[in-house]
Symmetry: none
DNA sequence: ACTCGCGGGACATCCCGTTTAT
DNA sequence: ATAAACGGGATGTCCCGCGAGT
């Protein structure tokens, strides 16, 4: 049922994900929300975004251990989101971005979104370090990859066209290979 | 008074930008909302995001005509948003991203966000073409630059730290210089 | 332009007839409402219902002077409203009834509606008196005829079917002929 | 609490019956409106008019089974509404007429009003058939009776005078007795 | 005389969290 | 622990009437 929330988050954002919709979508009982999530909606959204974040992070870790390298991880990430967009008729973007965009001030949700992104960055950075990059460079490159993918998801979503994601994927691979040559 | 809406959009998103706040912030009278924006809130938000989009686009165009080149434009764009984040204690992100994230389905707002991004891409692409890139490559590179900047704005916002923007700026300049060398 | 208001009254009722719609429908200038109707909306509605009432009354008077008798008047009234219903896809009922239903308390509109009905009753009553009925009987019969027609307009409108009006027309003619035989 | 809505409907019409008034009048809590009537105001009004319609229909059915005949039913109906008018200082008319007048197009409310009227007609028609009238005549007569009563309620309301209802009552009884003699 | 902008208010909808019964 | 009802709040939309500017 956290999955329901995550799906709705990707499609409708935080404000668009009301309790009523989550319950209708998940078929979960109505009265149990307070029991399972005493913190209210924030706690539910936090659980959903954290789950989505760690799910993706674990996929990335598996890819890393499979030895596909940074370029493989980036390509997989692009494909993952492009696939989600196409399956949903360009409605479902990135849940972390959705939360990030609608979380303000010192909201715990903001920290959760930051943590999820950090998680992804860590995986990518360590792979890049393993590939011979300096620690700082690796962090910069990983940041750029994740940022570019996130940005291109937004662009693809509003344009209803996966090409922005593909273009960014191509350029990031090029960036990685150049660095690889230099490193 | 569209400016008020744009500012609030950057800080609070679409749903967080209520009429009451816009009116309180702009000092405009309550009853004239219907008169100026018969289409309701959507029309106001659309006007705000379009204004913000063309404002930034015109800045970019001016930079382009000043001959600072693609790298200069990218650097300026990063600095512009990083500055906005710092001035607002990391509350104000990109208005276009805010609208993009909270506009769904076939919403006209989605098209407006897409148009604004397209506008920026056009400027950057034409500069890249002038610098000797092939048409398609130029489009890809421009897309990557804008996407990475947008993504890094989000990352910087949730981390309350401008370093992601700086890291992306550095990497994009590197990407452009490599391409420049190759082109 | 009072005609526009009258038409909208028949279709949309008092509350459904806003200034904006009247102006859009009549093409009249916006700022002149206050000049022509300083009393505001009530004055406009009052003018519309009075105009509609006297228009119908004058038609009835013409029929009376044509010597068609009470039955002719009743038949014409039924046909008039049935025609209006059919032409408007059963949207346009009786403007007087619309005002009567939505006017409350000691509203001047109530009096205007009452006056319009009274006007019609007077015509019919005097014809009935001329046909030999006692003053009181004539008033009762006229009241019944107008009431039945008004009620059947409502029934025809909600059923989207002119048969209630036809049925009432038949019965009223029967009622008049019986009285005629007795008188 | 549906009763509250029905009472207010008779007095103030559909548009004049705001949620705030219904809640104030019924003492019901504000937040539970959505829960009890997910369809919003339309659903509440529909429930109110349906309840009022079936309430009256059941009264008529009881009278029919008591053997008072068509004339008894008509007289009771007139008295019922005349009483309501007098008790309310001529503010409370017929709830069905109120809904009928303010329901437009293919509104479900229109159908509900039509159904209520149909219900009443069925009772009266079957009694008339039992009294020896032909099926079609019975329908016409019933329609005329209900229509005349509805129309006279409106007339009595705007004139603040129950005499229209009494006059119509007398004439309808006369109509029924003549038909009875003929049948 | 007409337009535009102002000013306030009311209304319907929706949402969220709590509390009380089963 | 699940369900229903409660309680208040905020939002967006619409409408009406009044003045200033041309």
């Amino acid at each position: 049922m956290v999955r329901s929330a995550a799906v709705l988050l990707r499609r409708n954002g935080v404000r668009g994900t009301s309790f009523a919709r989550v319950l209708a979508d998940s078929g979960a009982p109505r009265g149990s929300v307070t029991h399972h999530f005493p913190g209210g909606k924030d706690e539910l959204v936090l659980a959903a975004v954290s789950a989505a974040g760690t799910d993706i992070a674990s996929r990335l870790r598996r890819l890393a251990s499979d030895g596909v390298g940074a370029s493989g991880i980036v390509a997989a990430l692009c494909e993952y989101f492009a696939d989600g967009l196409q399956r949903s008729d360009f409605r479902a973007g990135c849940p972390v971005a959705a939360v990030a965009q609608e979380a303000f001030d010192a909201d715990p949700l903001r920290d959760a979104a930051a943590a999820a992104l950090e998680d992804w960055l860590d995986v990518l950075t360590s792979v890049l370090v393993d590939e011979g990059h300096a620690e700082q460079d690796a962090g910069d490159i990983a940041t750029t990859c994740v940022a570019a993918i996130e940005g291109s998801i937004m662009m693809a979503r509003v344009r209803r066209d996966r090409r922005p994601l593909d273009a960014v994927g191509r350029q990031l691979l090029s960036l990685l290979s150049v660095h690889g040559l230099q490193g």
